[in-house]
Symmetry: C2
């Protein structure tokens, strides 16, 4: 930001009306000094690129229709004035094109950190609230299944809980094999996988997947062997085991990664850079087609902003082929061991009941189950379905900002 003195001493167009001042700053920027003293500053190239006139912008499809060949690099502002009646900036360009920018529209697009942060947090993605074992009771959210199905406000709260806390439990779902389908449709649509649209978790003879045994399942994420790994897992308990086991285990993988980063930064570095081969080979689904899924990615994945985006962990799906240089192997195992140690220390255990739907972010949460025993008349039976985050965030935004949809 420029000081007032710098501002007054600068060159070129200055027009002061009702305390709002707009001017060209050197050749690259246009500045707007607001009444309160805030300075808004916009690159000329960005303004021209986002000219909102009918020639440059197609309002019906919300699409830029200008500058398709190249960026608008070589056109400069010739004149800029602030129109206080219309609260807009009027620009005349050197090629005589004219642009008009609403001041509110410009403020929303201010390049300052607080405006950017607010947009990313409120519209793009709510920030994850990381939690450990001791915080489980305070972050645990429950909703009534029927409310989620019938009330948009509850649907919004549920999706926000999935985005922020990473999981939620729906109570009171009917004893209906289509509950997960109804929930997926309420959000948008199911993510199909090589296992079909929905999957049934129960002990099966000749199981093709380890989840279909009665053994314990260690903390894991589903489908690390997919580039497009399932976003959320919707697990509906139709029949719970009356045996001691069959409980869910859950740990916040982003919190585990964050703790690892603080406590063991070298191990964190290893787990975010060394790629692991995740694999799934078999037959499944209704048509029993063969599949050979393989995806290569580190245990901890971050985006270009440095935020956690995905945790990969699945002991049964980690390939014996570890395609990294030999000298990385032993240190990787040590780092992985630290990660698992924290995950196990931070894992919580709870047992869903028939009618519960346990839903969690599969890019973030590690989940598992304790061993159980089926008995005559008591066969544990869950139905699961996946939905992608593209669809969930889109739905959440349409609920939060219905006016964004023309």
């Amino acid at each position: 930001m420029l000081s007032c003195r710098q501002l007054i001493s600068s060159r070129l167009f200055q027009l002061r009306k009702k305390s709002i001042l707009a001017r060209v700053r050197a050749s690259d920027y246009v500045e707007v000094l607001e009444e309160q003293g805030d300075l808004l500053k916009y690159p000329q190239v960005w303004l021209r690129d986002n000219c909102q006139c009918a020639e440059c912008f197609h309002a019906a499809t919300k699409a830029r229709r200008s500058h398709w060949e190249r960026g608008p690099l070589n056109v400069e502002v010739s004149q800029v004035t602030y129109n206080p009646e219309k609260k807009q900036l009027d620009i005349i360009w050197q090629d005589e094109h004219k642009s008009t920018f609403d001041l509110g529209w410009l403020r929303e697009r201010d390049f300052g950190e607080s405006t950017r942060k607010r947009y990313l947090e409120q519209v793009y993605k709510p920030s994850a609230q990381l939690w450990g074992k001791s915080e489980f009771k305070t972050v645990r959210r429950e909703f009534q299944y029927q409310d989620v199905i019938q009330e948009d406000a509850v649907l919004k709260d549920w999706l926000e809980a999935l985005a922020i806390q990473g999981f939620a439990i729906l109570k009171g779902a009917p004893n209906d094999i289509n509950v997960t389908k109804h929930l997926a449709k309420r959000i948008g649509y199911i993510k199909r996988t090589t296992y079909g649209d929905v999957f049934e978790v129960k002990s099966k003879p000749n199981a093709g997947n380890y989840a279909y045994l009665m053994t314990p399942l260690p903390l894991h994420t589903d489908m690390p062997y997919y580039e497009y790994k399932a976003g959320i897992n919707i697990l509906h308990t139709l029949v719970q085991s009356e045996s001691k086991g069959g409980a869910n285990t859950l740990a916040d993988g982003f919190n585990v990664a964050s703790q690892l980063q603080k406590l063991h930064p070298k191990d964190f570095e290893i787990l975010k850079t060394v790629p692991v081969n995740w694999v799934d080979i078999g037959h499944d689904g209704n048509d029993s087609k063969p599949f050979h899924s393989l995806w290569r990615a580190p245990v901890i994945c971050l985006d270009v902003d440095g935020r956690f985006t995905r945790i990969n962990q699945n002991t049964t799906k980690r390939d014996s082929r570890f395609s990294v240089p030999l000298e990385q192997v032993v240190s990787w195992y040590k780092a992985y061991n630290k990660f698992l140690e924290i995950a196990q220390a931070e894992a919580v255990e709870f047992k869903t009941q028939a009618g519960d739907v346990f839903v969690f972010n599969n890019l973030r949460m590690l989940h598992g189950r304790t061993a159980y025993e089926d008995a005559p008349g008591n066969k544990r039976h869950l139905v699961g379905a996946y939905v992608d985050w593209d669809i969930i965030y889109s739905k959440l935004r349409t609920l939060k900002f219905p006016n964004a949809i023309a």
Copy 2:
């Protein structure tokens, strides 16, 4: 690799039979010296983690059943011998557990660069063959639609062309609105999006998407506003425009990125690190539900191995909200301009005919079309569908390695 002298001077177990020598190397490794003199070297922790005995490995589900709690960090090899009759390594561990490893199985999992590279290239993903305008004729592959549907060998060749060259054209498809569905089903299944299962590209009154106008479409990728952007785009020409336009344009985005990296490394660095907001707000699909899609990613995306994984470019879907610090904006536009300049210089143009199915990697290729004019009795009409790469690579692997499926 160790020299022979180092090998002979080292400590502990040595058993020489038929010229194959196995021994423990310090506490971290086991080595196998092969007859030809090749030295195979495996970390002990990796061997124990991948013990193939029935207690440690569940063959029916190809799943590791050991070491779920933690990595097997604290168990060392007590004794290792090579059994020349069975061509296997027999290991006794300090906790008295016994493991047996087939020598062929071990060789396939050698940590040496050539073995790793071969596996990643042959099984994981074939390397992309980057191409520019002058190479278009040599990389262009054509297949008969019916052959793809009926012959597994042709299906395999087609999918490999998509993986390597990034596109292919199928000829002789019937005048049937379900051709793209049949092709998607032949691979696996369609990727559904907010636009439905299949989409029809033709000029529409009150178009909700810019593609549904008769205007030119500049080079772009579909759906940069999805985290799980469509893998391939299958575009079936039912009716081609008899007007001068309606031709396809195509450029290899990975080649454009690679050229940018060589010619303008600073611009490349900017385009691979500065995130852009890609957005799509509207209504579409059969049920006309609203959507508000938003994904934040650089134009050029690489994986942890440094390979290109995804190009994002779509002028109509690039948000006017550019959520980056002000000082990054002008240099980003300059870099973006260079990228577009190379893309346009390397773009080819061709016009499909009715019965052609143009299929391309939507993570890699930039595609567009020239403007056209519908006429009475000649209304340009394409049908499109998407399939994800998870599904394509899986299918390709089952065709190349049917024996991997038990």
